[in-house]
Structures are given as structure tokens and as C-alpha cells.
Amino acid sequence: MAQSLVKEFTKGLWAEIPPFRLVLGLCPVLAVTKSVENGIGMGIATTFVLIFSNLLISLLRNIIPSKVRIACYVVIIATFVTIVELLMQAYTYELFLKLGIFIPLIVVNCIVLGRAEAFASKNGPIFSIADGLGIGLGFTLSLAALGSVRELLGNGTLTIWDGLPVFHMGANFLPFKFMVEAPGAFVGLGLMLCIMNLIGKK
């Protein structure tokens, strides 16, 4: 049991890493990865929602009638998203302002509903938490990776927390502004998918 639990957790980190392998939830991936900080913040918020919605849906999986299951999942997911939104407003207001509309939009993120439908509705609560944690961390890592590439090239900095850059390319570095604009997100994501597929081919 312990072994398969680890498997459910680690699959989210590589084999089913959301934006690259499942290619789900691309809207926030493209929109918020202007900096590492935004990427990590969005990732953690999504992870929180994933863990709790997976847990609750898994606990209620035998009670929820199959005909109204999607409605029930959406109610559960929306509740946790609103909790995240309130908590972010209360404790990380600046990050909340930067992420803006993308926090409430986690409700319609395919990853969360996808995990509810594909995993939590068929598995026990402990496995569902492992699945949510794995997929959520995978999502966070992907956002952080894409965010760091875009921020490094587009702005010449790396910012992890509170707007303070932990790394700076130096005064001679000319920022490649294209990377922090919307088209840069597509190019960055495309190239990363490309690299992922190259590695996966072996």
C-alpha cells in the first residue's frame, strides 16, 4: 500500500505533470507566469484546492448521486476556491492583487475537476490526498519553471517572495521584453513541452 501511495504521489511530478503531460489548465499557466513568485503563488493556491476537493469528493463518493455529480464537484471546488481567495486577501494581499481574476477562475480549472472525476470519485481519501498533493506540486513546479524562464529572460531577475529579487542578471543584461508578454508565454510553454517530449522519448 505504501508503495502505491508513493506512486500516486510521484506520478503528478513527472508522468502526469499537469501542463506538460496532461496539457490541462493552460489558461492560468500562460497568464500568471510572468514571474516565479506569481507562478508559485498560483500553484500553491491550486494545490490547496486540489487536496481538499479531492479529499471531500473521495469521502462523499458513495453518497453523491452520479447524475448530479458534476454539480456537486463544482460546489465543493468553488467552496474551497472561495476559502483560498479569502485567505489570500487576509494574508497575502499583494499576491492576491497580482493574480487577480485567476484565483476565482481555479473553479473552472480543468485539472481540479479532472482529478475529481478521474481519480477522487473512484479512490479512497488517503490516495486522493496523495494524488491531489502530487498533481498540485507538479503544477506548482511547472508554473515556477515557466515563470523563472520568462522572468529571467524578460526581466533579468528571479523573484521568489515579496517582490525582492534573489538573483539579478546584472546591469549589462538587456531584458528580452517579449518573454513577459502574452506571446512569450506560448513560446516558452511550447519550448518546454518540446524539451519534455525529447527527454520522454528515450
Binding site: 462523499l60 453518497i63 453523491i64 448521486p65 447524475k67 448530479v68 454539480a71 456537486c72 460546489v75 465543493i76 468553488a78 467552496t79 472561495t82 476559502i83 479569502l86 485567505l87 486577501q89 487576509a90 494574508y91 494581499y93 499583494e94 492583487l97 487577480g100 481574476i101
Partner: protein, 194 residues
Amino acid sequence: MREMINMIVVLTVLTAFSGGLLAVVERGTANKIEDQVLKFQKAPAIKAIFPEATNNPLAERFTVQDTEGDKLQVFPGIMADGSKAVAFETKGTGFGGPIGLMVGINLKTDKIIKARVTTHSETPGIGTRAKTDLSFVNQFSGKGVHENLALKGDNGEIDAMSGATVTSRGVSIAAIQAEKLYLKLKPEIVKHMK
């Protein structure tokens, strides 16, 4: 029939439980969120309205109440030349929900000093110009509290932002609301600031 009742019961219990949970979280975070809004939204707006205040408008804020029970949080400002002014926030409905507008009014001349947008949930790049592009809200500067602050399309004097009429109207409604509240509560405010 049994199946239908089952569905109704599950959905009802689930939504009721969610509602209850959210109410608890909302209540638990309300004070904290108010502090954050004060720090990150109202404070910069007040700083912009009273750049040279000799007092601390945030620390000296007070609440006034009229006979009808309308409450208003007021930020007093004392100008470099000693004249007194107040700033307070009103709400109008924009495209994505309520828009907060912080309005500063000079108590002596009854004229608007400046207005600034605070909290909002408008469309990025379109409605958000109300906050980022100051040329729209600067139209309120210098207007008297008896002037018509409606949009030109609504027979007023304010130019709407092109492409963002609903947002512009929301801001204008907040400004008109501010005029009304000011006229109604001025005696109370003056009494408080003596």
C-alpha cells in the same frame, strides 16, 4: 422518485454545508481583510489625495452616523495652509462588481480635491484604466459638490472612457453618491473635526 429525492437532498445538504463553511471563514477573515484593504488600497489613495497633509489621516480616521443610521468612515486631512478636508470611500457598480472610489473634499470650499479608484474587479486593460489612467478620475478634481457628476451620455459633465462605459458609469455613480453623503453628513463631520 426515490432517486430524485436523493439528488435533491444531497445537493441541498452540500450547498447548505458549503454556505455555512464560507460564512465561518468570511467572518474569521473579515477584520484581517479590512486591514489589508486599508493598507494596500485606501492608504495609497489617501496619500494621492492629501500629498501634503500635516496630520495622519489614516490614524485619525473616525466614523460618523446620521439620524437615518448611515455610517461612513472618514479620513480627515489638514492641508499645509491649515485648511481642513475629508476623504471617504463610496461604491458604484461597474462591469465586474463594486468599484470603490475614494473622494477627497475640501470642507471650506465644498470642492472635490481628487478622486481615486480603490478596490475593483474590472476587466484587465479595459475597466482597470479607471485606476491606472488618472486622466479619467482627474475630471472630478475641482468640481463642486452641487455639480452634476454624471457621464455626458447621461446628461452630466464627465467624459466616459472609450470602450469602458459601464466602468465609467460605476465610478460616476460612486462620485454622485459621495456628493449626496457629503451634503448629508457634513454637519456631523464638522462637529467631529473641531
